[in-house]
């Protein structure tokens, strides 16, 4: 059992067949997540291919997480939250400046955590692709709008996945303070891995 505090991250191997659970311990905490084929990290999670092949924007139980080659990485097998985002991307210092202004340039961000942890495995910026935001709610509307909303997750809600091949898992527990994705109060999350 691994607790990841906000602003921190984790990178590690998840063997094929393992079930891994991410728990939002205190509620409304975005967990930015990337997955790679552990033996070929260029074969990595693709948000848009996952969305297209399931014919739906949000991730939940039954969602098959695909690579940009169309290979299956993991399946969501249980989800007490009900909806997760994969279009909102990760916060970065540079995108914070665009969204909130120059005064946020030096705030901590998910991309900084991703890059710090990716480096442990010899990965870099080219390997940081469009991610999953577990427990984050980014509704899209039929007229083409998009909003950031709070309120789908709660203390103790979790999402559980089955690794469909040997995975490299990269997590950033989001430090964003400028929008409701963390309820303006980033909090710890828990990762549990159960090898089969």
């Amino acid at each position: 059992m691994i607790t990841i505090v906000s602003g921190d991250g984790w990178i590690g191997d998840i063997p094929e067949g393992a079930i891994f659970r991410i728990t939002d311990l205190e509620g409304n905490q975005a967990v930015d997540t990337l997955l790679y084929d552990a033996h070929d990290t260029a074969n990595r999670y693709s948000a848009v291919d996952t969305i297209r092949e399931q014919g739906a924007v949000y991730l939940t139980t039954g969602s098959r997480l695909l690579t940009a080659r169309g290979d299956l990485l993991a399946t969501i097998v249980d989800d007490t939250c009900g909806r997760h985002d994969t279009l909102g991307g990760a916060c970065a210092q540079e995108s914070n400046v665009v969204r909130y202004g120059e005064h946020t340039r030096h705030q901590h961000s998910c991309r900084s955590t991703f890059l710090l942890k990716a480096r442990e495995r010899g990965l870099g910026k080219r390997d940081i692709t469009h991610n999953i935001n577990f427990f984050m709610n980014v509704p899209l509307t039929p007229d083409g709008g998009l909003t950031f909303e709070d309120g789908v997750s709660a203390p103790g809600k979790y999402v559980e996945l089955r690794a469909e091949r040997d995975l490299l898992l990269l997590i950033s527990n989001c430090p964003q303070l400028n929008n409701p994705c963390n309820g303006y109060n980033p909090t710890p999350i828990r990762l549990e891995v159960h090898p089969q």
Binding site: G70, E94, H130, L146
Partner: protein
């Protein structure tokens, strides 16, 4: 750079260097056209289009005028200065494979190729590769979003004569593939006419600058380059 024009056949790929304050106008020459597009900063291709950042900064689930397409470094790459269409897809990716691929030996240059294969061929020529693929804008394609988040491809969204105009806000590399949307069940790729010409720099009242504070800040960051 002198103005020029080029017709991209359906099911083909093309890469251009588009200098700052030049326009790329794409005009569909047939029905159900699709142009899957990658964009990189010419000064450093490690800086590239980021669709999630572009959408969330401008609160949009699709690409339409006068949105600014933003890099992962918070800078404007191109602005969408005009279009006959109010919706271009950016959330369903490009084709990974064609259902009925064909070989050069049989079909010669009419062989059917996926956007993925075509885009990777172009990236390899630039010294880039699979790790540089990002979510594409799929110009001329619409995938409708229902209130519960399910998706439906909209056939007939674009026809001959539909167009979109982009203004480069810094020197960019633009990589395009004209294979059909993977959600279009038919292999009927339309050719697309590309026209490149110099245009004025965006003024203080430019619609892309005034669209949202976020759009204006992305333009301002690009102007500092």
């Amino acid at each position: 750079m002198p103005s020029y024009q080029h017709d991209i056949p359906g099911g083909a790929a093309w890469t251009i260097r588009l200098p700052r304050y030049h326009e790329l106008k794409l005009e569909s020459l047939g029905d159900d056209a699709n142009v899957s597009m990658l964009i990189y900063a010419a000064h450093d291709p490690l800086e590239r289009l980021n669709i999630p950042d572009t959408l969330k900064a401008q609160m949009s689930g699709c690409i339409r005028p006068p949105m600014v397409l933003m890099s992962d470094m918070g800078r404007a790459l191109v602005s969408v200065t005009g279009s006959s269409l109010d919706w271009h897809d950016a959330i369903t990716g490009h084709s990974l494979a064609v259902k009925d691929p064909s070989t050069f030996q049989i079909s010669r240059n009419d062989r059917r190729r996926s956007a993925r294969g075509l885009l990777l061929d172009e990236l390899f020529k630039l010294g880039l590769g699979e790790r540089d693929l990002h979510a594409t804008v799929n110009w001329f394609s619409k995938v409708a979003i229902s209130p519960d988040g399910t998706l439906a491809y909209v056939p007939g969204h674009a026809g001959a004569g539909d167009r979109v105009q982009l203004r480069a806000e810094q020197d960019v590399l633009v990589v395009m593939a004209t294979s059909p949307s993977p959600l279009n069940g038919r292999w009927s790729p339309s050719p697309v006419r590309a026209s490149i010409s110099p245009v004025a720099a965006p003024g203080t009242d430019d619609p892309s600058r005034t669209f949202r504070d976020e759009s204006g800040r992305a333009l301002e960051q690009a102007e500092r380059l």
